[in-house]
Structure formats: structure tokens, C-alpha cells
Amino acid sequence: MERSLTHIALFAALIAVLGLIPQITLAVGVPITAQSLGIMLCGTVLGARRGALAVVLFLVLVAAGLPLLSGGRGGLGVFAGPSAGFLVGFPVAAFVCGLIVERWRMAIGPAAFVGAVTGGIAVLYAFGIPVLAARLTEAQIAGMPLNRNMSLPLALAALYLPGDLIKAVLAALITRGVARARPGSLLSRSAAG
């Protein structure tokens, strides 16, 4: 009980701290931040349930008005903005990351990579892109086929994809490092957790 609570709280803090790391700008000019790496790590290290709860706790504090998102953003405004779908998808992403690492009994590194790509990219984009589309384009523009409306949000998402793939690799490497240093602390894989 206490152990679950403190792990959830400390990893919520870890997501915030990763958001403080200055962003690196990729060659195409898209900033990548370590924050979504934190989301992946919550799943791969804490497991599905605790990982998702840690992310929910983090988002509650952001909504309450703490500027914890990368770039010092926060408050209710970010949930009204174009990236709201990604924020809502964060806990689900962490849950799927954790579920794959928990259930798929292969070496921790590859399992964490598959989890991070499935949860942190596929699931996250499935939440983020439709909202991005709804916020950045009109549903119906006269004389415009509907699928053209998706081209802008898809192009934006494609810009972030390389950075997110790098983060999935890092999440796998970090999870493997943690597993080596503290095999018992990796709650996603420990029977007692």
C-alpha cells in the first residue's frame, strides 16, 4: 500500500523533472523533450496500473495549475489547446507500455522497447492525432474532401515520430539499466509488486 503510493508519487515527480531537461532540437527544427520518455518509463518500470496512476497524478497537478509540462506550460489551458489529446493519451500510453512489459516474458530490453513503441507511440498518437485534427482544422470545409483535413495533423505527427523513436530506444536502455542495478525494484517484472 505505502509502497505503491510512494512509487506512484515519486514517478509523477520524475515525469516533471524530465520535463525540466532543456529540449534538444532535431535537424528538422522540431523540439524533442524528455517528458514523454518519463511517460514510457512509468509504464516499463512501474507496470501498467501504477504507471498509469503516476501519469494521472502528474496530469492532475498540471491541471491544478503547476507549470510542470516541458517549457513551463501548465494549467487548464493546455487541456483546451491542440495537444490535449496527447495529454489524455499519456496514462493509457503508460498503461499499455506496462502491460506489454508485464505480460511479455522476454528479455527486459526488447520488451520495454516494444512496450514503448506500442504504448508511447502507437496508442499515444491514436489519442493525440484526432484531437489535433479537431482543434487545428474545421470538420467540414465547403468543397473539401474530408481526408485532406487529416493531412495537416498527420504531417505534424510525422515530425515528432523520429524523436519519439529515439525516446523508445532510450526508455528500453534505461529500463534495462534499472533492471540490472535493482532487479527487485522493477515493479513491472517483480512477482511481489
Binding site: M1, E2, R3, L5, T6, H7, I8, A9, L10, F11, A12, A13, L14, A16, V17, L18, L20, I21, A34, L37, L41, V45, L57, F58, V60, L61, A63, A64, G65, L66, P67, L68, R73, G74, G75, L76, G77, V78, F79, A80, G81, P82, R135, L136, T137, E138, I141, A142, M144, R148, L152, L156, L170, L173, I174, G177, V178, A181, R182, S185
Partner: protein, 199 residues
Amino acid sequence: MLTLTSPVETWLHPVRAGWKLFALCVFTFALFSMEGIQALVLALAFVVVLQLPCGALFLRTAARLLWPLWPFVGIVLVWHLWIAAPAAGATVVLRLVAAVGAANLVTMTTRLTDMIAVIEWLARPLGRAGLSPRLIALAIALVIRFIPVLSVRALQLSEAWRARSPRRSRWPLLVPVTLAALDDADHVAEALRARGGAG
């Protein structure tokens, strides 16, 4: 830690947090069901008028909070001009700025404690599932306390790295940072248990 609540006392600060959040929900819902540029311009003007009595400093902070939106605004305008639908572009931008502006206004005029009180009130139904409001409050307090602790730990680790290597610290540093979070979690859990548990 700094919150986004404005230290400038405005007429909106004493209003109950629950009412402000309810009004925000109604306004946002209306905004997204609204059609037509005139109506959206009026809605945006309404958000601005609400903040006019709050003073120049407040307005400047509000503008800075909106600043991260500009890449989106730019991309939306360029894209809609390119597909020759400037009216749709203007609608999207007006709606976006008004929605984010209104939400920021509520955040800037509501204290963190009031906001957390609303969250605890909203979480009451979870009490039956074993998640008592006390646990949520404790978890929130732990996060707020441990963000600076973990930041300092990360900074120390990066300084230790730089003492050993001429290169800038990179991702392998995140392994000990994650381990620090795990170890701290274990220690705090023990401390909580020693004091009679969290439940």
C-alpha cells in the same frame, strides 16, 4: 515551487473555484458548438474584457501563457491560406485562442489549494473503491515535495559526470536518476509505515 496563479489579486480571485470551473466548462462547450467568425470574435473579446480590470501586469502574464500557441496559429493560418479556406483558418484560430485564454484565466485566478480542494471533492466517489481523499492529498503533497529533491539529485549527478568527463552529460545519466526515484520511493514508504501507514 511557483504556480501559475497570478500574485496580482483580481476580482476573480475570491470567486469559488467550483463556479469558475463550471463557467469554464459551459464557455468551452459553447465555443466548440459556435459557428461563424463574428460570434467567435465576440467570445474572444469577452475573454479579453474579463481580464481588462486586472491590470497591465496580469495582462502581460496572460499573454505570455498564450505564447506557446503561436507555432500552431502560424501553421494553421498558412495551411488554410494554402488550401484557399481563410475563413475556416480564422475560425479555428479564434476558437483555439479563446478556449485556451479562458482556461488560462481560471488557472491564473485560482489558488492551488482551492484547485486541489475541488479535485478532492471530485474524487469523493473513488472513496468507495478504496482511494480515500486523504491518500490523494498525501500523493499530491509527495509529488510537490519530491520534484525539487529529484531535480537537485539530477543536477548533482550531472555535475559528477562533468567532473569525470569533458563531454556533456547525456542519456545514461537517466539510469541513476530513475534509480534515485525508486530508492526514495522505498525509503518514504518505510517512513510512512513506521509512522502508522498511509491509510
